[in-house]
């Protein structure tokens, strides 16, 4: 396999208008496309329309003022887009590969019509705007195709370009493409279909073309008291909509501690991301959710309302009964007695005879002795009001060591089964119920995952000089990502004053951009101080119902994983078995539950569990260690910025600097635009099960990184950081200017700056090296094909400025799973030979990667001078042996825009493929495509063997 990444960077300085001009200029090129487009069937048009939203981002002509208006439009667009998606059955969403029309340049290729699925983000806005972008994208695709052609020749040429899959995308499977080969452009357009998701979308004013009736879906939510809530939701509704409905139903104001879960399997629970569409998250799963506590307040007495405490109690009772929250006999009895007091009131000798207690469940294994103890204690609580009893319950429960600890199965570097527990204070490592290590948030500099590996980078201990990175192996990449997300959320919620913005443009890279978007604990406390309503009335009656539907068997599917934890038996080898059993039990229970116990969730695929476990056998990760590190967490925390990292094996970076002033959106609102370009994966690759499954960005990213800010606590530090940031920014700008002046010579600088911004150590070094090469490469090769790309680029540039971030490639760093035969090839002028990746360990990627792109959201206020991501696109195309992923990122920073194009080309094939040639070709193409840009970096990574893929 050969992976090639080409990164092209452009810095544009210019006014918006200029930008527009560019786009216009581009227009002509596109014009070709347009005609074709016109010819396209309505479906295509729709796709275009959808894409138009995106296009808007990228300075489409339509929006008069790009800045604010565009942003608005985007937001608006998204809702509209939903409309389309509604009609599409989930399965349609998947990308279909359609044959690409041959690139103009290379007519040779035949497009074997393969279905391209364009998942259109929902937008149906009929805006021509989209086109420009599309054209760009198309161009990019063409390149890919072209490459494919070159290498593989015509037959192969029928490259399947994995388009961006739009989630809702209609099946605009474009067979049409086949019809019109030329219409690559069309294809491109389709590809463009990026999902523009505005994290927070406001309803748009934009008129939808066709008022289609809204498709609704019925969803069920299992509540903590065992009842079920159902409602109809628009199919494209975001998680927040449902969550709000549920909270309203519950009359719950302090809702930030809670969340909705959906289960992939009995063991794999996922939090529904409020900012994303539900459908994309649950995919084909039934619309059944569970309302649960997500963040366990360390001090429940600080909650404002009793009703909130009540729900917390209900959650804890479930946790206890399920065994997820282990307690001693005495504690079971004590907590049970408070439950009785809260729900039954004072013990009444008349009414409360013997068996009254047996209707309740207090523990996973409830004995008569325990019930007697409960009854005995119940008598002692006379006089406590239900609210007081709940408070007492919580006061005791909060001291339990596993209170609020979210456990995840993992293996350490030696393949030993361990559990990772995420809690308010940090990350806990358990082995067989013993805590073997702990990393408080302040000690953690970075949290990342890559495929099924989860990494934390920890601050050096007192006497140590170096940070260390500790890796854990999770059952699969989704599990790794889940853990990562939970960490990000917990850190943000408990440690920060306010949520961090999603990665800013400057940190833009591949990988997950996920950030916690809700309120932090600090914020929610503040908000709840403002609650001014009479204490709402509610009835406490859950325990009975919740309790034993079946002879005291634990309920709650969600708890299975934990159960092993609490189980006494050794679980080392038997893990799998245990889990399965548990799952089985859960099912039984469910069946038996008539009254709708709260936890009823869809536990569908038991089989998957098996898989997961099987996958665990996989290799070690980096060692776990550092038991000795001192715990002085508090003080010395230097914050770092977070960024998403992404490891790219080979990268060819083309760096381009265009001058053009960018006007950052005048409106704060604009700045705030958030684009979510969710990545589409190529469904065609069977190997990557996860990605193929669907377009949900969140799930498919293989990589994610997060660097905890500890602003909340260390004000001073934060300030310093900010200063640093500013400094960096300035540097950045300066450098950019530099670049402008001396386009060629200065390029080196540019990359460096970026690195600084990112604050990635490893990265920095790498980046620097890279810079040199760029131009040379570009000079060397020129081809016709390149033009296409150029066009694309131009368009992009025209839209809005981009700021590139080079970081992506280098981030790979940490410890990688064993790589088989790796060859690093540096391409550059003979004279200037730069070694790009001295430190990098190439990562073997077997899968065609899914690159998810989300643009960051910036607050108008904050975003002002910070780099702003204007747009980002990812285009993926595939041929039989080649997969090309193109990322185009535009960022605006301080009036300077940068465009960065990064291409990753993965060439997979037998020995008969001439990789060198392929590589040369790829570079050539890159240059040609973007003549005005320079190649910043080329990284080649060759593997003879294919690395194992994680099972999903």
């Amino acid at each position: 396999m050969l992976c090639l990444s080409v990164v092209t960077m452009t810095t544009e300085v210019g006014s918006e208008t200029e930008v527009k001009k560019d786009s216009e200029q581009l227009g002509p090129d596109k014009a070709k496309d347009k005609p074709e487009e016109a010819s396209e069937t309505p479906e295509n048009q729709k796709s275009k329309e959808a894409s138009s939203e995106e296009a808007q981002d990228s300075s489409l002509p339509e929006p008069t003022s790009q800045s604010s208006p565009s942003s608005q439009k985007k937001q608006k667009a998204s809702p509209e887009s939903k409309g389309i998606s509604r009609f599409l059955p989930p399965w349609l969403k998947k990308q279909k590969s359609y044959t690409l029309a041959e690139p103009k340049d290379e007519p040779k290729k035949k497009a074997t019509g393969e279905e391209q699925v364009i998942e259109e983000s929902e937008s149906q806005t009929p805006e021509g705007v989209a086109q420009p972008r599309k054209s760009l994208e198309e161009a990019a695709e063409n390149h890919h195709n072209a490459k494919a052609d070159d290498k593989e020749k015509q037959s192969v040429s029928s490259a399947e370009t994995p388009q961006l899959v739009k989630e809702d995308g209609k099946e605009m499977e474009v067979e049409k493409v086949a019809e019109k080969k030329e219409e690559n452009e069309e294809e491109k357009e389709k590809r463009e279909t990026k999902e523009v998701q505005t994290a927070e979308i406001k309803t748009d004013d934009i008129p939808q073309k066709s008022p289609k009736k809204i498709k609704t879906v019925q969803c069920k939510v299992m509540l903590l008291d065992g009842t079920e809530y159902s409602c109809d939701l628009e199919k494209r509704a975001k998680g927040q909509v449902l969550f709000d409905k549920v909270c309203e139903h519950l009359n719950l104001l302090e809702k930030d501690y809670f969340g909705l879960l959906f289960y992939e399997t009995s063991e794999q629970k996922n939090w529904l991301d409020p900012s994303k569409e539900i459908k994309r998250q649950i995919r084909s799963l039934p619309w059944i959710f569970t309302f649960n506590v997500k963040f366990y307040p360390p001090d429940p007495s600080q909650l404002t309302e009793d009703i909130t405490r009540y729900f917390l109690c209900l959650q804890l009772r479930q946790d206890i009964v399920s065994g997820r929250l282990p307690c001693s006999f005495v504690t079971h009895a004590l907590l049970g007695s408070y439950t009785l007091q809260a729900e039954l009131g004072d013990h009444d000798p008349e009414e409360h005879r013997r068996d009254y207690i047996s209707e309740f469940q207090f523990a996973p294994n409830q004995t008569q002795e325990m019930e007697e103890k409960v009854a005995e204690l119940h008598k002692t609580h006379r006089g406590l009001t239900p609210a007081q009893a709940d408070s007492q319950f919580l006061e005791n429960a909060k001291r339990l060591s596993m209170y609020g600890v979210d456990l995840h199965h993992a293996k350490d570097s030696e393949g030993v089964d361990i559990m990772l527990g995420v809690c308010a204070n940090g990350l806990l490592i358990y082995k067989d119920r013993l805590r073997i290590n702990r990393f408080a948030w302040p000690k953690i500099l970075k949290i990342s995952y890559k495929r099924s590996n989860f990494y934390i980078k920890v601050r050096p201990a007192e006497l140590e000089q170096f940070e260390s990175t500790i890796g854990f192996k999770l059952p699969n990449h989704r599990a790794a990502k889940r853990l990562w997300k939970v960490c990000v959320e917990h850190h943000t919620f408990f440690r920060l004053v306010s949520p961090e913005q999603p990665p800013k443009a400057k940190f833009l890279t591949l990988g997950s951009k996920f950030r916690y978007s809700g309120r932090t604990q600090a914020q929610t406390r503040q908000a709840s101080n403002l609650i001014d309503r009479p204490a709402p009335y509610f009835e406490r009656t859950s325990s009975k119902r919740v309790s034993r539907s079946l002879d005291g068997a634990p309920m709650g599917i969600s708890d299975q994983s934990l159960r092993d934890f609490s189980a006494t038996g050794g679980q080392a080898a038997g893990d799998k078995i245990i889990d399965t059993e548990a799952a089985g039990q859960a099912n039984l229970k469910e069946g038996g539950r008539e009254d709708g116990s709260p936890v009823k969730t869809p536990q569908l695929e038991l089989t998957q569990d098996g898989k997961r476990h099987a996958s665990r056998a996989e290799g070690p990760c980096t060692g776990v260690s550092n038991a000795d590190k001192s715990s002085h967490e508090t003080l010395d925390i230097v914050e770092e910025k977070k960024q998403a990292e992404f490891g790219i094996e080979e990268t060819v970076v083309v760096d381009e600097t265009n001058k053009g002033k960018m006007q950052v959106a005048t409106d704060a609102g604009e700045t705030c635009k958030v684009e979510h370009l969710s990545k589409k994966d190529s469904s065609s690759l069977p190997s990557d099960s996860s990605s193929s499954s669907s377009s949900s960005e969140s799930e498919d990213e293989e990589v994610g990184e997060y660097q905890p800010h500890h602003r909340a606590i260390e004000e001073v530090i934060r300030e310093e950081q900010e200063e640093e940031e500013d400094m960096k920014r300035k540097e950045h700008e300066e450098k950019i200017q530099h670049v402008e002046a001396t386009p060629e010579g200065s390029k080196l600088n540019v990359p460096v700056e970026h690195t600084q911004v990112t604050a990635e150590d490893l990265v920095q070094k790498n980046t620097v090296t890279v810079a040199t090469e760029e131009k040379k490469l570009s000079e060397e090769v020129k081809q016709d094909l390149g033009q296409e790309k150029e066009e694309e680029q131009l368009k992009l540039n025209g839209d809005v400025s981009h700021v590139d971030i080079d970081v992506a490639p280098q981030l790979i760093c940490c410890s990688e799973p064993p790589v088989v035969k790796t060859e690093m090839v540096t391409i550059s002028d003979a004279t200037q030979r730069t070694e790009i990746s001295t430190k990098e360990i190439p990562i073997v990627q077997t899968e065609t990667k899914t690159i998810t792109y989300e643009s960051s959201q910036l607050d108008g206020s904050a975003g002002g001078d910070a780099g702003m991501l204007v747009s980002a696109q990812t285009i993926t195309s595939e041929s039989v042996s080649t997969t090309t992923t193109t990322h185009i990122t535009k960022m605006v920073k301080g009036g300077v825009s940068e465009t960065r194009i990064e291409k990753r080309i993965v060439i997979t094939g037998d020995a008969d493929i001439d990789h060198d040639e392929a590589l040369a070709q790829a570079i050539k193409e890159a240059k040609e495509q973007h003549p005005d840009m320079s190649v910043t970096r080329v990284v080649v990574h060759k593997e003879t063997e294919i690395a194992e893929e994680d099972e999903e």
């Binding site: 001693s328 005495v330 204690l377 073997i436 715990s631």
Partner: protein
């Protein structure tokens, strides 16, 4: 009140103490890490009697004294065979095979106190109570030559309310050979490298921040804290004659009632202050 010991405020509360007389066989047959001067039995007995006298007379505990068993030379070190927390007692499986029978007598006496008894039956598990440090909030279990992971796991299963963290122990027989609780939130710690390293581990593992009291001598870091209703904070620590520098450190504890105790003879066979008693709080009996 039951449940989590009533919180940290109740830490150190105790009503009963189980001790055991020393057998004469101790002098020659007791296990010891290194050869050294022979134990002066008479003096050892005197010191022990003083110790028991303090618990019974001065502090008013109900002391249950088990008779010596000549076949069990180490039987005086009762701490190793039982871990009692609140109303649950874990009978251990001591790391030294020669000591396993010591558990029997302990079991009987604990049963007589109506504690919930958990026995460590797993043959792969070993645990010495001397490796168990209970802080009032959590347990630390030293992994030493006497205590293994399995033993720690069983302890974790027994006391589910609490976090149980493991701490590697080197250069010491037991975890509590160089540390102990000197107050509700205060860890007394020796100055040796091993002790400091262990402390760091404990600090890292804990969600809670403890104060520490560092004493020059590791052996002196083993002291006994009790919370006696009529006396407040009580601390039994090694006598100034034995460890003058460390004693000075203890003397700085203003809020504590300090009781110096000599333990020179038993120390020769690796005995410490906490070693010789199992403290039990039965005040909550209904």
């Amino acid at each position: 009140m039951a449940g989590l010991g009533g919180g940290p405020a109740a830490f150190g509360r105790c009503t009963h103490a189980v001790v055991r007389a020393l057998p004469e066989s101790l002098c020659r047959q007791a296990l010891r890490r290194s050869a050294g001067p022979e134990v002066d039995f008479a003096r050892a007995e005197r010191e022990h009697q003083l110790y028991v006298g303090v618990l019974r007379g001065k502090l008013g505990l109900q002391v249950l004294e088990l008779p010596a068993d000549e076949s069990l030379p180490d039987c005086v070190f009762v701490e190793d065979v039982a871990v009692v927390c609140e109303e649950t007692a874990l009978l251990t499986r001591p790391g030294a095979p020669s000591r396993r029978k010591e558990v029997e007598a302990m079991k009987r006496v604990l049963e007589s106190l109506n504690l919930n008894i958990v026995e460590m039956v797993d043959e792969n598990a070993t645990l010495d109570g001397g490796d168990v440090l209970f802080t009032g909030r959590e347990f630390f279990v030293g992994l030493s030559r006497r205590t293994n992971q399995r033993g720690a796991e069983i302890l974790a299963d027994t006391f589910k309310d609490y976090a149980v963290s493991t701490v590697p122990v080197h250069d010491s027989l037991h975890l509590k050979g160089f540390c102990s609780m000197a107050g509700p939130n205060l860890i007394a710690i020796g100055s040796s490298e091993a002790a400091q390293k262990a402390l760091k581990t404990m600090q890292q593992m804990s969600d809670h921040r403890y104060d520490k009291l560092t004493v020059p001598d590791d052996a002196a870091a083993n002291c006994m804290y009790l919370n006696i209703p009529s006396k407040g904070h009580v601390l039994l620590h090694r006598a100034p004659e034995e460890y003058p520098e460390s004693a000075k450190v203890f003397e700085k504890l203003k809020d504590h009632m300090l009781i110096p105790i000599a333990n020179t003879e038993l120390e020769k066979v690796d005995g410490s202050l906490t070693c010789c008693a199992v403290l039990i709080n039965k005040a909550s009996e209904l």
